[in-house]
């Protein structure tokens, strides 16, 4: 077995964990904002996928990675808009609308992609990385963690920023109150609908960037259905993290490691059937749910529509 753990293998494992984990982290972080405010956002898978599609399209058309990520964020918000309208304003079922949005985004992106790229499958050039002086020289984790595209650093900063917003701003208090006791927030003179709408759009933005990361950085190409359940894993992450952004980061890296282990083990030629290896991340999700699922605490008002004066 000693041959397995070469420096190159370990570096690719850590790198893979980051590449696979980052979209999960952005999705989980976004979902956490929605859930904190009392919105169960099942449409997040669709938001990611639309972000992946639009991010790729913009990056391909303009040649700019940054515009691509911006496009991805906007793509996610485009899917978030009907969610905000139907669920937050009109009070329709968050679950039904969420499923509809995910299925709709899957169909729409596959269709558009089919018509645009029926003949050729253009790839994006590899995204340039930004080496952090000093840190990137550390063996194994240096090249894997500190010689990455700048969006990676920004995403990790977003975790810290979200943690700050939750803890130290009025917005954080408002989000918490919207999910815990919307009537109290309303009585304090804050519009519950506005807070929740903000939360859903934030989710769309973050999830969209997560999707764009998958198409622009991870694959370099858009493939229909490429998010492959990442949004749903994000929902699991958000629930397990119990309102703490840092836990989302940790959980996402764990899941990312499981995902990347599938590739790494296959590359290393371990004599386990590939089906078993590919099962690993989902087995990990199951394990986490079985072990910690009971302790997941959700805001009391999650999934419910707020009506003033109703108990």
């Amino acid at each position: 077995m000693s041959g397995l753990f070469t420096e190159a293998f370990l570096t690719s494992l850590v790198l893979g964990a980051l590449t696979a984990g980052l979209p999960l982290m952005l999705a989980g972080l976004g979902e956490q904002i929605s859930e904190k405010a009392g919105v169960l956002n099942i449409g997040i898978e669709g938001m990611m996928l639309f972000g992946a599609y639009l991010g790729f399209l913009v990056a391909y058309a303009t040649g700019s990675v940054w515009l691509g990520f911006l496009g991805g964020g906007l793509g996610g918000m485009l899917v978030a808009a009907p969610m905000a309208l139907f669920c937050i304003r009109m009070g329709l079922s968050q679950i039904v609308i969420g499923i509809a949005l995910t299925l709709g985004a899957e169909g729409l992106t596959a269709l558009l992609h089919h018509f645009q790229f029926a003949q050729s499958y253009p790839r994006l050039p590899a995204v340039e990385t930004l080496a952090i002086p000093g840190l990137s020289a550390i063996p194994v984790i240096g090249p894997a963690l500190f010689d990455r595209p700048p969006i990676v650093y920004l995403a990790v900063l977003a975790v810290a920023a979200t943690a700050y917003v939750f803890r130290s701003t009025q917005l954080g208090l408002a989000l918490q109150a919207a999910g815990d006791k919307p009537a109290a927030l309303d009585a304090a003179g804050v519009d519950v609908v506005r807070v929740r709408t903000f939360a859903v759009f934030s989710t769309g933005f973050l999830a969209g960037i997560g999707g764009a990361f998958m198409s622009q950085v991870g694959a370099g190409i858009f493939v229909p259905f490429m998010t492959n359940g990442a949004g749903f894993i994000g929902i699991v992450l958000a629930m397990q993290a119990r309102g703490r952004p840092l836990w989302v980061l940790a959980g996402a890296l764990l899941f990312g490691a499981c995902l990347s282990a599938t590739t790494a083990l296959q590359v290393a030629g371990v004599s386990i059937p590939t089906d078993v290896i590919q099962m690993l991340p989902f087995a990990a999700v199951l394990m986490v749910l079985v072990l910690f699922g009971r302790r997941a605490s959700l805001p009391p008002a999650l999934g419910t529509h707020y009506v003033r004066g109703a108990r």
């Binding site: 701003t169 009025q170 917005l171 918490q176 109150a177 815990d180 009537a183 109290a184 804050v190 004066g309």
Partner: protein, 519 residues
């Protein structure tokens, strides 16, 4: 017990006044030309049974409702209180029965909630102002504590402090002691005393007479939407607790004692061995544990179970019917122990339960009347044979009962949920009183019905007793209990606090027992 108000010379105007206000809701006049004055430094108690109009009155003061007629005056000037925010501006703070705090946030965060989105909550400033108010009124609250970890009494203190921090000079406490422990209620009473010494006016809403006397300076009694009396502070002091109690009981439960009770049940008081015999019945329940219920009912006797709603009547009835586990006790029907039987077993032996939750547990709204009439006999012959429905037998049964009990319906296949409340009740009575009934429990049988159906239902209850059934009549309507019962048992806090014969003194005795004044 009664304290004199601490305010210095009386100001020329009451701090808040309602002038002949009327508020109507579809079908009811919730407040009918009610006047109400609130003076600084006074605890003004608003006393009345459920449905007396207390909540509506408070709603108009706190900005939840606008009066249809009449005016609201703050310091002599007419105002329009269209929202809770407007009420706060005018210095009227309300602590509602259900907490308006976010449980997962700390006390300071709850108080800081509501600034511009990107600003930092001013936690230190809030904590400082909070400490000042707390010191002034003599309460201790940890500003960093999570609200969810505080007791209900402490949460109430937080809300009071918050209202004062926002500059309230009038504090409305809506059923504030309803969810508190006796100790918590006592603490709240002491706190109200300290508040009035600071010149704050307190409106204290309650249906408990003893609290009204212990904490209040001025008492206003509401009954069926009307103000039936007010006892000013001087008078309250002069009367003393005993006389004040008598006066309030008279106001709360009506003045025509004697006259109507004399015309009570014309039937001779049935005697004989009890048919239904309950001994030491107890039910575990988180909100109202029921314990030590002893009650026996003779054939042909109606025992009324009076009491303010939510004092364990529902738990008792369900335990009796077999819908809840007994924690202890025995139930005998005609000498046979039935406490171990399930609902079906008890029903088979003749115990029937007419629920007050007619659409929730009494019927399946989307099912036809014919099936609802057999809801408790599904699968039994002759209506089902080997699991197969026998439409002819079911229809015959339904047609007979619909005719006998005068259920007004387009047909026996009509979904029962489409009928009026009165007709649903008739169908329920038909189901429960037909067949081999021997003892019947009625839970609030006329609740929500119109006058005609009330009369018809009461007639059915009398007939059931005349047929020799043992009847327990649970009702929060004292008039109804006094009109129908042979004996009246009073339930309070999960116990039967007294059983009285229905004679001329019954009204005032029952009133006292209901209000928690055990003389």
């Amino acid at each position: 017990m009664t304290q004199t108000p601490n305010a210095a010379p009386m100001p020329p105007h009451p701090i808040v006044a309602l002038d002949q206000v009327t508020k109507r809701f579809p079908g009811v006049v919730a407040n009918d030309r009610v006047s109400f004055e609130l003076w600084p430094g006074e605890v003004h108690v608003l006393l009345g049974e459920n449905g007396a109009g207390k909540s509506t009155l408070v709603g108009m003061l706190s900005g939840l409702q606008l009066p249809d007629e009449g005016g609201v005056l703050v310091e002599g000037r007419e105002v329009r209180i269209a929202s809770p925010a407007r009420a706060l501006e005018l210095g009227i703070g309300t602590v509602f029965q259900h907490s308006m705090l976010v449980p997962s946030l700390s006390v300071v965060d709850n108080m800081a909630l509501g600034g511009p989105w990107w600003s930092r909550p001013d936690r230190a400033g809030v904590a400082r102002r909070m400490a000042a108010v707390c010191a002034e009124i003599g309460v201790a609250i940890d500003p960093e504590a999570r609200v969810g970890s505080l007791s209900l009494g402490e949460q109430q203190q937080v809300e009071i402090v918050r209202a004062l921090m926002r500059g309230s000079r009038v504090l409305i406490l809506d059923e504030a002691t309803a969810m508190l422990t006796p100790k918590g209620a006592e603490d709240l009473g002491a706190l109200m005393g300290r508040l009035t010494r600071l010149g704050i006016a307190v409106v204290f809403i309650t249906h408990k007479l003893n609290e009204a006397l212990a904490f209040g300076h001025r008492i206003t009694v509401l009954r069926l939407g009307r103000k039936v009396g007010e006892i000013a502070p001087e008078r309250l002091v002069a009367l003393g607790p005993a006389a004040a109690t008598a006066e309030i009981v008279r106001l709360m439960f009506g003045t025509h004692a004697g006259t109507e009770a004399a015309g009570g049940p014309p039937r001779a008081r049935p005697a004989g061995a009890p048919l239904l015999d309950i001994e030491g019945l107890a039910v575990d329940d988180a909100s109202v544990p029921v314990a030590g219920i002893d009650l026996s009912v003779a054939p042909g006797e109606i025992v009324g179970l009076a009491g303010i709603d939510g004092n364990g009547q529902k738990q008792f009835a369900e335990a009796l019917a077999g819908q809840r586990r007994l924690a202890a006790g025995r139930i005998r029907l005609g000498g046979e122990a039935i406490e171990r039987l399930d609902v079906g077993g008890r029903r088979e032996r003749g115990l029937r339960y007419v629920t007050d939750d007619r659409l929730g547990e009494g019927t399946v709204g989307s099912f036809p009347i014919s099936l609802n009439l057999l809801l408790k006999q599904v699968g039994e012959a002759p209506f089902w044979r080997h699991g197969i429905e026998q439409p002819e037998a079911i229809a015959t049964h339904a047609r007979r009962l619909v005719g006998e009990y005068d259920v007004r319906t387009p047909g026996i296949e009509t979904a029962i949920g489409k009928l009026s409340g009165g007709n649903i009740q008739k169908a329920l009575l038909a189901r429960e009183l037909s067949g081999q009934a021997r003892a019947v429990i009625f839970a609030k049988p006329t609740y929500g019905l119109d006058v005609q159906n009330i009369r018809a239902t009461r007639q059915r209850i009398r007939e059931a007793a005349d047929r020799g059934l043992a009847v327990i009549l649970i009702s929060t309507d004292l008039e109804e209990v006094l009109e129908l019962s042979d004996r009246v048992a009073v339930m309070s806090r999960g116990r039967i606090v007294g059983v009285v014969d229905n004679n001329a003194e019954a009204r005032s005795r029952v009133g006292e027992l209901m209000s928690g004044v055990t003389a």
